[in-house]
């Protein structure tokens, strides 16, 4: 009977998560997968799949902590599937005698670690992260070509690793650069660091499984990679988790009043975010630009625009007030990274709540069919 329930995905959006989880949600939703639950800690993962996407692995660990890590291990051992993408992959790899008690379920070296990395030629703020006695460096960004299942596809790389000699099954490797590949170091050094190295690996652990991606197969501009990601998800066993609806059903005047207030403040926040000046904030080990904030507000605005057109929607009462607070924070935002971090976490939560309402409005939760 539980096989009738759809695949339930828990997506980590807490501290350390950047904005790339929006790509994951949009891509899955465009393929009809709307059973996504957003989580900001890993204490109790009631889902078939846990996805930890891009961001700052150091911040991820700091927030998830030892207890959260042990819960993820337990989730996998009991049959759950862990999907790591970019930061989520670093988080799961054990490399260079990792001093952090990260997930460490897959042994392997990464090819983009060096005591003395190649000279950087562009985007210095994206190039290096100090790590132990050396640096994790990011030789290229944007689209790269991968060997996957005997043919080639393209996917973008935004800091994900090249993986060496992992005790896991390789599924894809970096095979070529593309005209759109952006080199952050010399081409030859980039070639040595990346080409021929693994881009996607999988490993069974106890009853569960891990898939670790370097590149972002979920990026909406890469339909071939999207299809492979969906195909991979389709193979994951469903373990019978219910997806609880978010919020409560409203319609008529109640809906109109609620949506108008949300739209008012999301619109104000969006346009203020687009108007932000040339600040950069270092949050954890990662640099954040105004466009990251604008990206979240833009996503919120699209979701609100969808809900506005529906006759009956799911709603959370305090969202208008939260949107207002965030807008005032954007309007008052300056160079202070601490303020930017508060805003970032707030807008991430608002975005994920609006996605949950969107999913709940779009498609009532699936219930088990009567045999």
């Amino acid at each position: 009977m539980t096989a009738e329930l759809p695949l339930k995905i828990a997506l980590y959006t807490g501290k350390g998560a950047s904005h790339s989880w929006i790509w994951f949600v949009d891509t899955l939703s465009s393929h009809g997968i709307n059973t996504i639950e957003f989580i900001t800690d890993t204490g109790d993962i009631a889902a078939d799949v846990l996805v930890v996407s891009g961001g700052d692995p150091f911040a991820l660990f700091s927030h998830i902590g030892k207890h959260g890590v042990s819960r993820i291990r337990s989730f996998i051992e009991k049959g759950g599937t862990y999907i790591g993408i970019c930061a989520g992959t670093y988080f799961a790899l054990r490399f260079h005698e990792n001093p952090y008690p990260w997930l460490n379920l897959v042994d392997g070296e990464i090819s983009n670690f060096a005591i003395e990395p190649p000279p950087n030629i562009r985007m210095p703020h994206k190039y290096l992260v100090k790590y132990r006695d050396g640096f994790v460096f990011h030789p290229v960004r944007e689209a790269v070509t991968l060997e996957y299942n005997g043919y080639t596809i393209q996917a973008p790389l935004y800091g994900g690793p090249g993986i060496l000699s992992a005790n896991a099954e390789p599924l894809a490797s970096y095979s070529q650069f593309t005209p759109k590949t952006m080199f952050l170091c010399g081409k030859e050094e980039a070639r040595q660091a990346l080409l021929g190295k693994r881009a996607l690996i999988t490993k069974k652990v106890s009853r569960g499984c891990l898939y670790l991606f370097g590149p972002h197969f979920e990026h909406p501009h890469f339909p071939d990679a999207n299809r492979e990601l969906i195909a991979l998800l389709s193979k994951i066993p469903h373990r019978g988790y219910h997806v609880e609806p978010t919020g409560s059903q409203i319609k008529g005047n109640e809906k109109r009043t609620w949506i108008k207030e949300v739209k008012r403040w999301v619109s104000n926040g969006r346009l203020a975010a687009f108007g932000l000046q040339n600040y950069q904030w270092k949050i954890g080990e990662k640099m954040y630009d105004p466009e990251r904030l604008a990206y979240f507000f833009q996503a919120c605005f699209k979701l609100v625009s969808f809900l506005e057109l529906q006759q009956s929607i799911r709603a959370i009462p305090d969202i208008p007030e939260r949107a207002r607070t965030l807008t005032l924070q954007v309007r008052n935002l300056g160079p202070d990274a601490a303020q930017a971090e508060i805003l970032l976490e707030g807008i991430k939560t608002l975005t994920s709540d609006l996605y949950s309402l969107y999913f709940s409005t779009l498609q009532p939760p699936q219930l088990p069919r009567t045999p």
């Binding site: 108008k260 739209k263 008012r264 619109s267 104000n268 969006r270 346009l271 687009f274 108007g275 309007r331």
Partner: protein, 362 residues
């Protein structure tokens, strides 16, 4: 409705409420837009101030920067134009037309964005137009916001009141800033992040490009043709999508200056000021929101008595309906191509004769 965003904001200043009314195709077919559509709305909502965009405002049709403000003054229906980026920004805010009816109990500004019209109470009354625009941009967090503002002239309902767009004077020849003052409306702030649909894009582009090519071949000048002005001009500016950069920017101090509107500068020079002094005085006029047509002392202009209405002249009604700047008329706009653009853009069968008939009602 193609070439328009969907809504008319009917703002009830007495009640502090906004009703959003859909723009019907029939309304556009009968009134096209701009001054003609404003007229129709004024008939429907008497004693209101109407802000409206032309059918081509905010498009790739050359010179399509124009918006129109319409109100009755001393019993006469009057139109004034606003250019720069306010016309497009109004349309792209989601409201192609705004009706301001009644009177706010206390000073307010109207904030238009993403199909939301907010009536905000304000303590900006008494601030000059520059302070008001700077405040609104800072407060709302975006310097692309366009404002239509009244200064001391409008607040005091002066006959010489002038509506100001951001920092610069509009062609408010009828002092409609004073009507906003009567309604306790200090400013309208707009930000346009919306979209305007086009019925047949390729045909529209073809017509617009044809007009642009024709204009470019004839426009051999920049700035206002005023003796001595070019020598003190820092740079030339154009309104939205205009091939004629008719605006001279003249520096008046460190990091500030004034964008010249030819008629206003000439008025001041006719009052006996030299070009440099006229430019400096014009800046003060704009800060106070007064029209130098009626004198050279900006402070005195804030308390002028009522002035006669200035009707639209020559082909201005046609331009005010299309949302295209009439200053381009001196170069000769291909009217047949303009009608093709309207037809292709809206998907409505509108002939040149129909357009002329509608415009003739002004």
């Amino acid at each position: 409705m193609e070439l328009y965003t969907d809504l008319i904001a009917v703002v009830d200043l007495d009640a502090g409420e906004v009703e959003e009314v859909d723009i019907e195709e029939d309304f556009i077919e009968k009134n096209i837009g701009g001054a003609c559509a404003n007229n129709a709305l004024l008939s429907q909502y008497p004693d209101s101030v109407i802000l409206g965009t032309g059918v081509l405002t905010g498009t790739l049709f050359p010179g399509s920067a124009l918006g129109v403000v319409t109100a009755k003054k001393n019993g006469t229906v009057c139109h004034s134009a606003f250019n720069w980026f306010s016309g497009p920004e109004l349309k792209l805010s989601g409201f192609s037309f705004v009706v301001l009816k009644g009177k706010a109990e206390n000073p307010v500004y109207l904030w238009l964005h993403d199909e939301i019209a907010d009536i905000e109470s304000t303590d900006l009354w008494g601030k000059n137009t520059w302070e008001t625009t700077a405040y609104l941009r800072e407060e709302l967090g975006e310097n692309r916001i366009q404002t239509l503002v009244i200064g001391e002239g409008g607040e005091k309902k002066s006959g010489a009141a002038l509506l100001v767009n951001n920092y610069w004077g509009t062609d408010d020849r009828n002092g409609l800033a004073a009507v906003l003052g009567e309604k306790n409306v200090k400013a309208v702030a707009m930000r346009g992040m919306g979209e305007v649909e086009i019925s047949e894009p390729e045909e529209f582009i073809s017509a617009a490009e044809e007009v642009l090519t024709g204009l470019k071949s004839k426009i051999q000048k920049k700035g206002a043709p005023v003796e001595g002005l070019e020598a003190i001009t820092q740079r030339f500016d154009a309104c939205f999508n205009c091939p004629y950069a008719c605006r001279n920017f003249v520096e008046t101090g460190e990091n500030e200056g004034v964008v010249i509107f030819e008629r206003h500068l000439k008025d001041l020079m006719a009052h006996g000021l030299d070009v440099k002094k006229a430019a400096e005085t014009l800046q003060t006029c704009y800060q106070l929101g007064v029209n130098p047509k009626y004198g050279k002392d900006p402070n005195a202009l804030t308390t002028m008595g009522s002035q006669p209405a200035q009707p639209l002249e020559d082909k201005e009604g046609w331009y005010y309906t299309l949302g295209v700047c009439p200053i381009l008329d001196q170069f000769g706009i291909d009217e047949e191509a303009a009608v093709r653009a309207i037809t292709a853009g809206t998907g409505l069968e509108i002939s040149a004769d129909t357009l002329d008939d509608i415009v003739s009602r002004l």
